[in-house]
Subunit: 283 residues, 2 copies
């Protein structure tokens, strides 16, 4: 994202006055999937997310500041810290910043961050609570909520099956409330995922409204992995058949499903509560 | 929403060709809180929501159709049924419909529906699972998710404390996935709510990150009511102090809170699971 010239100016601002400058077009491209995929970068926006990123020692590739908009004292302090540390910085006019921002009330600070991906072959079923695998989640917000709860219960990370879903979508990043910086991410095709599952003898736990097992009546083995499908279609047949345990979350009212972020979280808290109980009363 | 003239034409369409017609301005006003409050009406959009409304025998005040956009066979069938039953109908051009619609891919059918509110003095702590009370929820989507889960676990309905939150916001209606038509709604000021709680000897269960009781270690009495605060601030001091049980949902990762819809759902499923267990093993 940074050119040699900009790196030479590390710690100094590059002032940008045109919406059509190379820099602004690059920043704008990070709001699209193709732009993120091509660069391996993503955008975070707002003081809170910048603070979270720095708390997690995430390397900021480029700081993006609209000095006239940035009034938040913590935001100003973080920007000062990063500039002293030599982080390249784009300084934007309020108009250009507004044209880039997706926030309702832009705070005048954003940052370009490098995506973190791990390879499936380097992943082990975790000593942490569990991995959560997802197939084709449609709502970026739902995925962010799932990442947030996975972090809350001490989950290892999120394994994305297939290419449909991008955890570095700005709406996902926002909904994760900082968990995006703490959780681990892996992407794998179905076949590779199933081979990995077999090799590591993972107990794959899927949910389905047609399952007969009640999620709350099952004792989940330590080496479990949660697998969630898409909002509309649930799990594909091939992945349902690969599940070692297929459970349902019972419902008694006149709705036919739960929100996907909720269903994932109810499952994760069940696994978490069982793990806590087994630690409190080891056999 | 309908004039006498339109009622006389029940079953017939009023064709609307101007974005600035009285009818279109009235429809547009229902996307605002003040417009909904002034009329006691709200808008639902899309085939799925119309089907859910009809399944719940909700009275449709006015049907809103863009015939050139409506291709869905079920949608066409529902519109036919409603028109035969004499429901007043506005027929819009695609352009006018698009100007009203909040859907990404408008299906060409919407409906004006009357809000349902009950008075606090008519409400009893339910024989159903429990009521969920909420204070100043900020995200319309979160509120919709809470309504959806409340319906899923057999909750009675949602009690809104204060005036901050409108369950008939279009984003809430969408996120409720039809539960808006099944759940009951009450609005009350703090003082009236606390007097009601006292009178009915309800066990008020609130959540707080600073609570010491683990939500999963508590046995909730039958006459419990869940109370949730806002996303940013949680419960106000006065409501925290009114709680009979203040519990926390434990977290072990590097996030400081759960999504509000998730936290509510994790609590509701805990209450639901305890109720199911006590029914299976009555003392």
């Amino acid at each position: 994202m940074t050119t040699q010239k900009e790196n030479d100016e590390a710690g100094q601002s590059v002032c940008i006055y045109s919406r059509n400058s190379v820099q602004v077009r690059r920043l704008r491209s990070l709001q699209t999937r193709s732009g993120r995929d091509a660069t391996g970068l993503y955008l975070i926006e707002g003081v809170r997310h910048l603070a979270e990123a720095m708390k997690h020692c995430v390397r900021i590739e480029t700081l993006v500041v609209a000095p006239k908009l940035l009034e938040n004292p913590l935001g100003k302090k973080l920007v000062r810290q990063l500039r002293i540390a030599g982080t390249p910085c784009y300084s934007l006019t309020p108009e250009i910043y507004h044209s880039l921002s997706q926030a309702e009330e832009p705070q005048g600070v954003a940052a370009v961050v490098r995506q973190r991906w791990e390879k499936l072959e380097h992943i082990r079923p975790s000593h942490k609570l569990c991995w959560t695998a997802v197939e084709a989640v449609q709502s970026a917000g739902n995925l962010g909520t799932m990442i947030r709860t996975s972090e809350a219960v001490g989950g290892a990370g999120v394994l994305l099956i297939g290419n449909a879903t991008d955890p570095y979508n700005p709406a996902t990043v926002r909904a994760s409330m900082g968990a995006i910086f703490a959780q681990r991410f892996v992407r794998a095709e179905v076949e590779a995922f199933l081979a990995w599952k077999q090799r590591h003898q993972v107990t794959l736990v899927g949910t389905s409204p047609s399952a007969t097992l009640d999620y709350h009546a099952v004792t989940y083995p330590k080496c479990s992995m949660l697998l969630m499908g898409s909002e509309k279609k649930g799990l594909s047949d091939v992945l349902q058949q690969a599940c070692d345990l297929l459970v349902k979350i019972p419902m008694v009212g006149q709705v036919d499903s739960l929100n996907l972020g909720v269903a994932t979280s109810v499952m994760l808290y069940e696994l978490f509560n069982q793990r806590r109980a087994s630690r409190a009363n080891p056999r």
